[in-house]
Every structure is written in structure tokens, then in C-alpha cells.
Amino acid sequence: MRTAVGPEQIQFLAELRDYLDGLDTELIESTRAENIEDPMQPRQHGRRFLRRLGADRWLGVSWPKEYGGQGRTPIEQWLFAEELYNRRLPNGLLTLNAIGPTLMLMGTEAQKADYLPRILTGELEFAIGYSEPDAGSDLAALRTRAVRDGEDYVVNGQKIWTTGAGLATHFWLATRTGAQEDRHRGLSLFITAMDTPGITVTPIITQGGERTNAVFLDNVRIPAGNRIAQENQGWSAITAALNFERMFYHNEPRWELRQLAGWADAAGLLDGDTADAHALAEVMGEHAVDVEICRLFALRGARMLAEGRVPYAEASANKIWWGELRQRICSSGLDLIGEDGTIAVGSPFAPAHGYLEHGLRSSPVWRFGGGTNEIQLDIIATRGLGMPR
């Protein structure tokens, strides 16, 4: 059997850990708190943290050196993401891990020169504009229209579930340029600054306390040079970015299991010999198995990328496993805690700091975000097994 994580990779991880351990404690603690509260959008401290990493050249581990990266393999990139997730620190999320690589594949030289260096310094933060009120899983039905007008496109329509739009500097925007009935063959993708006139962002607050948004586009003018790929060929950029996105589901389940272990330890249940302790050990033992499986699903994706292959069905399996596991750890962890588990995050009496309670409230999006798990299962069955549609 071949190992993907060799001495060179372990050395890289040791260097990364040294670097992270040496960062300013205040920066780390405030970033972590902010990230636990709402991980999908780096805010004041998260942005500060990412700019620090960028300045120290720790962003873009696997980016080619020509784009300012470290030029390492996807295995090191995976280790980087695992380590940051394990510490509950932001790792650049979609901007660094999905938008950047997609731009490298499909951007023009001018676009790459414009955006890639600023992504690597942590200066840019993208929001993703795919979903619409009538186009969720059926993304190819989207209706936000971009009409060519001289050197510009004029965009009108509405996006929803646009997480991070309130903080983002830029918008990764899917629009219809062809006929509605052309479905995915009539879409074009644009980048525009979030403060472009005509963009209005309205917050939507979730049951987990996270903020997502509706975005209204009203005669928004975008220069044609900001279009990614050819007109009506935006679908390939959308699917490429989504696939990169599904590759980056990692180590949070391990972190959540550790929160449960912390509670169990304080309650004297972690390694006791009582019926309660045994029941807990059985539940946590199975979660520990599933956390290792989660690691290996993600590592497989990294290894395939390192071998020059693109994981599709494999990325879907990773994403399904990750989201279902996180939700399972939160729910069954609360089962072990019992009635105290109803105490909400924020109270000093909340078991496991309230992270499992908060996690369960936040968990639905883990199963439908980035493409519903039902769509992922279809991808596995059709692309992985060749089932007819």
C-alpha cells in the first residue's frame, strides 16, 4: 500500500504548527471565537488572521509559485486545511480554495494578475452568487439575467442564501445570458466588486444565529472583461468551483468530538467503569471511527489531485460523510448530556460550552449546502457507478 503522507509532509506539518503556535494569542483567540460563532464568513478578526497568514506567505500552500504560492502538493494543502480546521481557525474557505483554483484554470491572464495576488494576501473575500428563489438544486434554472450593452453587461435579478455577501469584497456571480430553455448552456459567470452600484444586500438570520443574505441586482453594470470563460459557458466554471468546494470538508467533526470529550472528562464519564461511562464510550468510539473515515475521504481527494486526477464522486462522498457525521456528533452528544443539553450557547452552564447545542441548530446546512446530499448521492451513482439517469 502506498502512503500519501511521508516524512516531508510531516515536516511541513511540524513547521506549520510551529508557525501557528507562535502567532499572537489575542489574534488567535478572537479569531477562533469569531469562527466558532459563524464559520462561513471571516469577519473582523478572521480577516485580520488571513491577512497575517498571507503576509507570512502561508496562504496558497499548493498554489504554483508563479501565482505567488508555495508550490507544494495538494497533500500539504490538505494538511494545512486539516490543521486550521482542527484549531477552528479560518483557512481561506471558498475564496482561497475554490475561487482561486478555478481562476487559475479558467481566468484570463488579466484576471489572474488582478485577483490571484490579492487572494493570496488575504485582501479579497468572495461571496458566491448561485442560488435563487426558484433555482436551488436545479441551478441550471437560474433567471438572473445579464444583457450585453456595449463594453458592459447589465445584470438584473435576485440571489439568495448568499452567505458572506455582507462582508465580501467581491461577488462570484452566475447569470443567464442565453435563453431560459438553454438551461446550463446559457449561463455566464462574472466577478464584480460587492460595492458596485445596484447591488443591495439584505440579511437573513438562521436558527443557528449565522447570517446569510438575499442579494438584489438592479441594473448592475459589469465590464465584459470581468466575465469568466466565454459567454454562455459559465457552467464549467460553476461546476469546477463547486467541486473544489466539496473537497474542503475536513476536520470539524474531530473538533466537535473533542468538545464532547471535554464535557465527558469534566463529568467523570470519559474513562469510567459505570453504565453511563460505558454507554458514552460506545457512542464516542463509533464517532471516533467515523472521524478517521472523514480524514481518509478528504485525504483521498487530495491524493487524487496530487496525481493529476479530479475527484467528482469522491468529493461528493467526502461532503456527505462530513455533514452527516457532524450532525450526528452534535445530536448524539446531546443525548449523552441529557436535559442540561438544552442550555443554549452563551450560558456558562451550557455543557461542552454550548457548541453541540449550537452545532445542532446550525447543522441543516451541512447536509444541503454546497449541493444537497441527495444530489451528491446521484453524482456518486451516475458518475461513480455509471447508473442511468
Partner: protein
């Protein structure tokens, strides 16, 4: 899916073994052997031994091929794919334990016999129900309830590995069939492997009692990885057969694989199979001599059992009635999945061990 962890040499070995089994081990053959007196075909056994399979990961000094545990795992996987019942897994497990514990040559006689094709059994009750106690005269007296052991009656020797009561040491003893006279009862197994119930209570054995608990557990972990790999092979075969059936079987005017409900069943089988294979391969990769990576091996064993069972249950649903008949090979996998899982012992005990190793002691993980 298309991904594989195998090296070129392992892939070649896998192909050789797969071609070998594909040539004869169909459902009719498996049914015949299950009904036959010995449960396996001695002529086939000799072929396996001539191919060097019983000694693939045993040292050269005993006539083995000096291969890796991963290579032994590849063979076990192909056995599992074929649902092929024989003393091979038990013999490889016994040899693997002895090789791990006998680097100083103390078990070389038995290892030489195994490498030469003598079937062996491994008596190591997974829930540690049997213990040894020194009798003060250099031997040990065993105590505990009867144990169910694979291929015990067909074995030339049995390798016993049990804890020494009230110590952190283990006893490893070679037990000859004659020593077990009157203590062994053949019992029917739920699957096509042969098992016997052996009453060890009061038996006096001579062996090595200087084995540390960690060494014993690492030896057993290596043996268990062979069972895990066998179950991974079972998962792969069951998944492939189910996918093929879903493309061929037409209902309501289309292949049933075109129905989303069935596609999702199959996708779940893919996930379960991948989970089992990835953990098993990770553990086999790390299973170098002396590595002491027992925790990840326990994860692999648990994941393989859970996935194999999930896979056969779903496969039975996808196949419907045809999958439940003895005319379809699925019935062998169906029964083997639960049997192989149960031969790893009690689910709750395994999970508590995994909890202690991974959650409490943080063994073997980068995080």
C-alpha cells in the same frame, strides 16, 4: 470507485488471485463445498499453498516469501471477494501472529509448517473470555467458557494467544490436535466457513508467557487486519454485483438503477465500501513491523464489519427475491458478513477499546 492504494506489485498479486478464484469459485462451487464433508477442497488448498499464499508475509528463514502484511491483506481481500471458504484466513492469521511474536525464531517450527501448507487455527477469543494461569510447574492452566474457533478441526496445529490472569502479560502456546481430544465439538456455522466449539477450561498448556500486552495486541491487530481486508473484498464484490444488477433489471420499463431511490441505495453502498477500504488500506500501510499502530487497525476492523453488513443488507434489498435464493452468490456474502463481523467479538467491547485508544489516549493520529 476508481481510486486504488495498491502498489504495482500488490495490484499484480490481486489480479493473479482474482483470476484464480474467478476460474472456479462460483456459487455452485461454493454451495458444493459448503455441503461437502470437509468444507473445502484439499486439491485447491494444495494449489493455494503451492502459490505460496500461506507464507506470503512470513520470513524467508521459515520458507515464507518475506512479503508485507499488505500483500497478505491483498490475498485475504480476494478471498473475501470470492466468498471463498477455506482454512486460508485462519492459517494466515495464525502465521501472522506467530511471526509478529517470534522474531527471535521461537515459533519457527510451526511457521515453517504453515509456510509449507499446513493449515493452522488461531484461538484468541476476541472478548478475552479465556485466561491462563501459571500452575507453578512451568505450565499454564486455562479457564473460561468454550470458544468458537474457525477451522480448528481441520488444522494441524492451533495457535493459542490469551492473557495471563492478573498480569499484563500474555501466553502464546502451540496446541496440537491431540491435546484437545474430547474438548472439540463441530458446530454448524451461519456462513460457509467451518467452526468448532472448544472447551479449554482446565486444559494444561506449555508456552511462552513473557509476551507484553502491547506486543500481543499488535500481533492480534495485524491478524485482524487480514479479516478486515477480507470483509473489504466482500463489500467490493457485493457492490459491483448490485450495480450490475441495477443496470440490467428492468421494471416499469426502465433499469431499476434509473430510479433515484435505488441509485441512492447504491451510492450509500459506495460510501460504505470506500470507508471500509480506505481505513483498511491506511492501517495496512502503517502496519510495519514494530509500528504498534493497533488503534487504526481496530478502526479498520470495525469499519469493515459495519460496512460489509450494511452492504449485504442493501444488496438484498436491491436484488429482491433473487438475492435470497441459494442459487445466487449473494447468499454467501450475506451470511459471511455477519459471521465475519461477529468473529471480531462484541461490538460494544470493540467500540470501548477504540474510544480508549483514540479519544482518551490519542493514539496514532496526526490530530
Amino acid at each position: 470507485m476508481t481510486d486504488t492504494d495498491l502498489t504495482q506489485q500488490e495490484a499484480l498479486l490481486a489480479k493473479t488471485a482474482r483470476d484464480y478464484f474467478t476460474d472456479f469459485a462460483d456459487n455452485t462451487y461454493l454451495n458444493q463445498q459448503e455441503a461437502a464433508e470437509h468444507g473445502y477442497e484439499p486439491a485447491r488448498w494444495k494449489q493455494l499453498c503451492d502459490l505460496g499464499w500461506t507464507g506470503i508475509n512470513l520470513p524467508e528463514r521459515v520458507g515464507g516469501a518475506d512479503g508485507t502484511l499488505a500483500e497478505a491483506g491483498v490475498l485475504a481481500r480476494e478471498c473475501g471477494r470470492a466468498a471463498f471458504a477455506s482454512p486460508l484466513l485462519a492459517t494466515m492469521r495464525a502465521g501472522t501472529v506467530l511471526a509478529a511474536l517470534g522474531a527471535d525464531g521461537r515459533f519457527d517450527d510451526v511457521l515453517t509448517a504453515i509456510a509449507d501448507g499446513a493449515p493452522a487455527a488461531l484461538i484468541a477469543p476476541p472478548d478475552r473470555t479465556v485466561a491462563a494461569e501459571p500452575d507453578g510447574q512451568g505450565r499454564h492452566r486455562l479457564s473460561g467458557p468454550p470458544a468458537v474457533v474457525e477451522w480448528l478441526e481441520q488444522a494441524d496445529s492451533a495457535v493459542l494467544l490469551v492473557p495471563v490472569a492478573a498480569t499484563d502479560r500474555w501466553l502464546c502456546a502451540i496446541v496440537a490436535p491431540g491435546q484437545l481430544d474430547g474438548r472439540v465439538t463441530a458446530v454448524p456455522s451461519t456462513d460457509n466457513e467451518r467452526v468448532a466449539r472448544v472447551d479449554l477450561d482446565g486444559l494444561s498448556v506449555g508456552g511462552c508467557d513473557d509476551i507484553g500486552a502491547r506486543a500481543a495486541q499488535w500481533a492480534l491487530a495485524r491478524a485482524n487486519l487480514l479479516r478486515a481486508s477480507l470483509m473489504v473484498g466482500g463489500c467490493e464484490s457485493v457492490l459491483e454485483r448490485s450495480a450490475k444488477y441495477a443496470k440490467e433489471r428492468v421494471q416499469f420499463g426502465q433499469p431499476i438503477g434509473a430510479f433515484q431511490a435505488v441509485r441512492h441505495h447504491l451510492a450509500r453502498m459506495v460510501i460504505a465500501t470506500d470507508a471500509a477500504r480506505l481505513t483498511c488500506d491506511d492501517a495496512l500501510t502503517r502496519a510495519e513491523a514494530g509500528a504498534d499502530e493497533s488503534a487504526i487497525a481496530a478502526v479498520a476492523l470495525f469499519a469493515a464489519g459495519r460496512s460489509y453488513l450494511e452492504t449485504v443488507l442493501t444488496a438484498a434489498q436491491v436484488h429482491g427475491g433473487v438475492g435470497t435464493t441459494t442459487e445466487h452468490i449473494l447468499h454467501h456474502h450475506y451470511r459471511r458478513a455477519k459471521a465475519m463481523q461477529l468473529r471480531s467479538g462484541k461490538r460494544a467491547s470493540r467500540l470501548r477499546e477504540i474510544h480508549a485508544a483514540l479519544v482518551c489516549r490519542h493514539e496514532g493520529s496526526l490530530w
